[in-house]
């Protein structure tokens, strides 16, 4: 068990390292360099050249990647914060500490000051959505899997297929047309400002609904599939034949076994939720992680994109690890080596 977790943690660190290097080298191809992006469009070429020299941006890729890793792990000080440069970049945490993601060239703030509040907003959005998706799809999945081929099952199946087929931006447009334009019940933006016009809850409703609609169908179908499979097992037949009430058969015998497979599926849903979050946040102007990622990637803000990549990969990989460990606990037949 400990070996398994250690192995996975090692893979996780490796994945994050590979991912960050991949993104770092990809960002090489964006037009402009850190110096010109930091100084903005009004700086003279001479100023840019000076900064370019001071930051040693002419060094080979590996050296600069190593330097970025050094800044991140707190081994070396962030060169951009050097008072000699006269950039007035100041991180209240100091220029040398563990977890220093550097300075964002787009937001002109320390990455840590932008990243975490944005991530917090996204966690609220995704958390609420997740909190609705899971119970909803469990209930409907189990109900339709209980009696395969019933009208409820058929109906839910096709609803599920339809819902997973409608991309977030399409469902957002349709919902906005109905609830914002036609009925005027909800706001079309969720920028988390002007709470006097629209309450927090009313701003959150549409983004959460869009996320729930897209993921609900998929998870519910997974639960259904697993439930259908369990219902054909001999021990269910035995339980029914020995005269147990149907309720008991479902709750005590079928449910526990049916929920094993969907457990991993639900946790694997989290990386998909990240994609949905990027789209949803962009549509509704929600000040979250996804919108920030898109903005900084199109600006070519390398420090920000690197930080966002590491965080996203960390979330994705750690939920997978959690999924595998949880899977092992709820399914005693599985043992990892």
């Amino acid at each position: 068990m400990a070996v398994f977790v250690l192995k996975r943690l090692f893979m996780m660190a490796l994945t994050m390292l590979v991912a960050s290097f991949l993104v770092f080298s990809l960002m090489e191809f964006t037009p402009g360099n850190v110096a010109s992006k930091t100084l903005g469009p009004y700086a003279t070429q001479a100023q840019k050249d000076i900064l370019y020299e001071k930051l040693q941006l002419g060094d080979p890729l590996f050296v600069r990647y190593g330097r970025w890793l050094g800044v991140l792990s707190g081994v070396i000080a962030d060169p951009l914060q050097d008072p000699e440069l006269g950039l007035d970049f100041e991180d209240p945490r100091g220029d040398q500490y563990f977890g220093n993601f550097g300075y964002s060239s787009k937001y002109k703030l320390p990455v840590n000051d932008v990243l975490w509040p944005r991530l917090y907003n996204t966690l609220i959005l995704a958390g609420i959505a997740f909190g609705i998706i899971v119970p909803l799809s469990l209930v409907f999945g189990v109900l339709s899997g209980m009696r395969e081929g019933s009208i409820l099952d058929r109906g839910l199946s096709y609803t599920g297929i339809t819902l997973t087929s409608i991309p977030e931006f399409a469902s957002a447009v349709i919902l906005m047309s109905i609830f914002v334009v036609l009925l005027g019940w909800l706001p079309g933006v969720a920028n988390m400002q002007n709470f006097e016009d629209w309450s927090w809850a009313s701003q959150m409703t549409l983004p959460v609904t869009v996320l729930v609609l897209y993921d609900f169908g998929y998870v519910a179908r997974m639960v259904r599939g697993s439930m259908v499979e369990v219902m054909t097992r001999p021990y269910i037949r035995t339980a029914i034949l020995k005269g147990l009430p149907y309720r008991t058969v479902i709750l005590k015998h079928a449910l526990r076994n049916a929920l094993i497979a969907p457990f991993t599926v639900i946790l694997l849903q989290i990386p998909f939720l990240i994609t949905g979050v990027v789209v949803t946040e962009t549509i509704f102007g929600y000040p979250g992680f996804g919108k920030m990622l898109l903005e900084s990637a199109s600006f070519g803000d390398i420090t920000m994109v690197e930080a966002a990549t590491l965080v996203a990969v960390f979330i994705a990989v750690s939920t997978q690890l959690l999924g595998d460990i949880g899977y092992m606990y709820i399914n005693p037949r599985i043992r990892f080596t």
Partner: protein, 317 residues
Amino acid sequence: MTDKTKEHAEMTETPTQQIGNPSAAGDSMINAEQPDRQGLTKLFYNFGLLRESPAAIIGLSIIVFWVLIAIFADLVTVYPPNVPDYEAFMKEPFMGAHWLGTDILGRDIWSRVAFGARTTLIVAPVAMLCAYTLGIIMGMLAGYYGGWVDNVISRVSDIILSFPLIILFIVIISVFGASAFNIIVAVTLAASPGIGRIVRGLTLDLRSLEYVSAAQIRGENGFYIMMVELLPNARGPLIVDACLRMGYTIITIGILGFLGLGLPPPDPDWGGMVANNIAMVNGGKPFMAIIPAVAISSLVIGFNLLADGLREISVRD
């Protein structure tokens, strides 16, 4: 991990071979004598099996509809897709000359939807073809040879699969610019590890069968065995997977277009059309964004219904 992949392989393995195998599926009355169907007859027979699933028929009809629109886009439209009509800005649908209305720039929405179908139905299949080629090669090599080849391929796949794909897409496309080629590269990179994993599982199951051993004893090389013995017998689950994946690829292309990372303007793509016109939803003219949104959703529904129907038919007996 291994246990889980194995289980996954088992789950996907059930429908194996039945799609292309009339004796296993289908009408027992007709099949009483197990006639030997080959070539075109077999194709038509398998096609006839679709009748058993209304979902598959509906899905297929939607797909065929859009394919026809895409092929004959020049014939079914009156106005060119990229040229503004200066006398008709933001016209409502079903009124006047433009039957689905015009967008912010006065371009005919029906023309843009039709030509958007063409772009989508070219880019998505090409991307899928590339992803499948790469994925099948990776999965076959990993599954057939095992050992270190399997280890290397599986670890690389694990890393790519644990990457939240949207980040990969955003970075690749914002760095290299938006073009059909870059979208295809991004989709191929992102989708092939998943395909590889499925093919690997199928190959592991098939590898130990007699006809593979027979080919090995006959002295056939690995390439021949993989392409001629293994691949055709793994096609059943792969066809279902391809339908599902096609739906998701279309969604992905739509999302990229919506985020401004799709095809460069002014050429129409559905996601981009939604993005261009979404501002007007709050301005009281939602139809301009709804029409392309409905178009993309219907095409994806078509592929998902077809996939569901195919799976239903293949596991029935």
